[in-house]
């Protein structure tokens, strides 16, 4: 009976209640997954094939050809479809290479922080007691630190570079993974199938990796997508502030920083990398949203 009742009862909490609006709602959600996936896949392909797709060398300076406007301006030309920057470098090529930096940093940061956060969270949730107290202490400490300020300070100490930024953000952004992994594991710790595995004498790594992890993976994947977007934005922020990826690397944040002097006269210098950033982050969030719907209870049907 509980099973039969759970779905309708849950449904009554939904604000959108008519049959039609629910249908629209769910297709929209599925569509968000599709759109997000589509944009990210194409950007991924762009990043991989950058050397072949970029029309020019992104580092090649040509002072004779500075600040060429993009194609939609009357003075634009097809040689530089998105124009050139203040050093005469092709803007489209820099944008294409910038995709690599953003995606690389986003993915690697999510990987590092995911590894740290999930490990800490699962251990805290599974063992509880002292382990939990230690992890909770670490978590509170971490949450008390403003990410941008700490990253700025550390980067200025160690010198900004792509590697520093990646490591710094990886070491800073594990909090959400830890929180989600901890609470999800706590719920599973007393699940009878985990107890059954314990009673069989299964080694601890087996229980954590095979019994617990697959059942919290859905929640973690959602966190991971959000953290990728978060890392990409933070990288852009740090690069903009001069403590991230260093010139002449074509980071989108750096491109915005370099263009800020021309902002009022040649706004495209900023809007082009800005829009790229916007589209990528939006796509990742759409993907995360769609994944959350898929992994929500009830939507999962094996």
């Amino acid at each position: 009976m509980a099973q039969l009742l759970s779905s309708p009862v849950a449904a009554t909490h939904h604000p959108a209640n008519t049959w039609l609006s629910r249908l629209v709602h769910s297709t929209f959600k599925n569509r968000s997954l599709a759109i997000g996936l589509l944009i990210i896949t194409s950007l991924g392909i762009v990043a991989l094939l950058a050397p072949w797709l970029a029309p020019h060398d992104p580092y090649l300076q040509n002072t004779a050809n500075r600040m060429v406007p993009p194609i939609w301006h009357e003075t634009g030309s097809w040689t530089h479809p998105l124009g050139t920057d203040r050093l005469g470098r092709d803007y489209l090529s820099r944008l294409i290479y910038g995709t690599r930096i953003s995606l690389f940093i986003g993915l690697v940061v999510a990987l590092i922080s995911g590894l740290i956060g999930t490990t800490l969270g699962v251990l805290a949730g599974y063992f509880g007691g002292r382990v939990d107290a230690v992890v909770s202490y670490l978590l509170t400490t971490r949450l008390a630190m403003p990410v941008v300020l700490v990253a700025l300070a550390m980067a200025s100490l160690m010198g900004g570079s792509m590697l520093t930024v990646t490591l710094l953000l990886g070491l800073l952004l594990w909090d959400r993974f830890a929180v989600v992994a901890r609470s999800a594991t706590q719920q599973l710790r007393d699940a009878e199938y985990v107890q059954a595995a314990q009673a069989l004498g299964c080694p601890l790594p087996y229980i954590l990796l095979r019994e617990v992890l697959p059942n919290i993976a859905g929640a973690l994947i959602v966190v991971a997508t959000l953290e990728v977007a978060n890392a990409i934005l933070l990288e852009a922020t740090l690069s903009f502030l001069g403590m991230g990826v260093q010139p002449p690397s074509p980071s989108w944040g750096l491109m915005i920083a370099e263009g800020k002097a021309y902002m009022f006269f040649q706004p495209w210098v900023i809007t082009i990398p800005g829009s790229a950033l916007f589209v990528l982050v939006l796509a990742i969030n759409l993907l995360g949203d769609g994944l959350r719907d898929l992994s929500a209870p009830g939507g999962r049907n094996e």
Partner: protein, 349 residues
């Protein structure tokens, strides 16, 4: 909706308090439509205890939610007749319906914690239940709450009124729920598995209390349960549900002594009964599983699990009158209930 009119109504001559004809509940689910309740008929007399009994998924809780008007909006409720004391529940406006709820029909849930608001004191919630429906003073509501708490066997009632739900044990919470259901002196209480989550000693106490109060206040009760032991002890009449249908209705006495549907017989045979089943012997289980109610069910819903199924059972059996007030939805109901068969039953029952 005040006390006077309800007593007046209950002395009015005998039409049943609630009559249900061909009630159907359909729920859209991922793979189609779940026909949770497939055309059931029953009625509740004033002041009687009707037990709806059946296994998970048989539609008994859906039925109760449909009566209370608490089904999710996506659920479709159809019926030829859904009449509560002269009010047509199918066409009554939502506003009037929510006035009926609480004032004249109350519900007791399996898990009282979900029905009690953890943010308010018990006294507050009890008084609110009354003052929402009746123009009474704060003092009068308080007095009635206090009286009912004492009546349901809660000691230090004055103190309990100031406590919050989480400060009470499960048994006490269920007592409070009963008191709350009685606040407006409803004509009908629907109790959905109210003792399933409780320990056996507490269950006995709560059932005892419920039976007492029901007789004292003359309230009709629809008691939903899966436990045949509970049914036997408290019911005046019983409706057995299977796969969204009522397959047998009878007085408690008649149902347990002369069950005339193979499913009822099977249910009675498969529970170990002290003194009647030999300890350690094999129980007579009902083979197979309940049909999937998303698909269309042809003929008798029980025929794939029935040891007496025949070719005839591929057609839908009509509700047959076996004895006065004893109906069974089986083609062979008359044979099953005849005395010669009955003797054979008694050995195992």
């Amino acid at each position: 909706m005040n006390n006077l009119s309800s007593t007046e109504r209950s002395t009015a001559p005998a039409s049943p308090l609630l009559s249900v004809k061909q009630l159907r509940v359909d729920l859209p689910v991922a793979k189609g439509t779940l026909h949770a309740v497939r055309g059931i008929d029953f009625h509740v007399e004033r002041g009687e205890m009707l037990c709806l009994v059946g296994e998970s998924g048989c539609g008994k809780s859906m039925t109760s939610l449909a009566l209370m008007g608490l089904l999710p909006r996506k659920a479709q409720v159809n019926a030829d007749c859904l009449n509560f004391d002269g009010v047509d529940l199918l066409t009554v406006p939502e506003r009037e319906r929510s006035n009926l709820r609480g004032a004249r029909m109350a519900m007791i849930f399996q898990e009282p914690m979900t029905a009690l608001n953890p943010a308010y004191t018990l006294g507050n919630q009890l008084c609110e239940a009354l003052r929402r429906h009746q123009q009474v003073s704060r003092k009068a509501a308080h007095d009635r709450a206090l009286y009912l708490l004492k009546r349901v066997g809660i000691s230090a009632a004055e103190e309990r009124m100031r406590q919050y739900p989480h400060q009470l044990s499960g048994g006490l919470r269920q007592r409070v729920m009963i008191a709350m259901a009685l606040m407006c002196e409803p004509d009908l209480i629907i109790a959905d598995e109210p003792t399933t989550a409780l320990d056996v000693t507490i269950q006995a106490q709560i059932l005892h209390l419920l039976r007492d109060l029901q007789q004292e206040f003359g309230t009709a009760v629809i008691f939903i349960t899966h436990d045949l032991g509970v049914v036997a002890r408290i019911a005046d009449r019983v409706a057995v549900m299977y796969a969204g249908e009522v397959i047998e209705t009878a007085s408690a006495q008649a149902l347990f002594q002369a069950p005339s549907h193979p499913y009822t017989q099977g249910l009675l045979r498969c529970i170990p009964t002290p003194g009647k089943t030999l300890p350690g012997s094999r129980l007579q289980a009902i083979p197979g599983v309940v049909p999937n109610l998303v698909e269309k069910v042809d003929g008798c819903a029980f025929c794939n699990r029935c040891d007496q199924a025949a070719e005839l059972c591929r057609t839908t059996p009509p509700l047959q009158t076996v004895a006065d007030g004893h109906l069974s939805r089986c083609h062979f109901a008359h044979q099953l209930s005849n005395p010669a068969q009955l003797n054979a039953q008694e050995v195992t029952l």
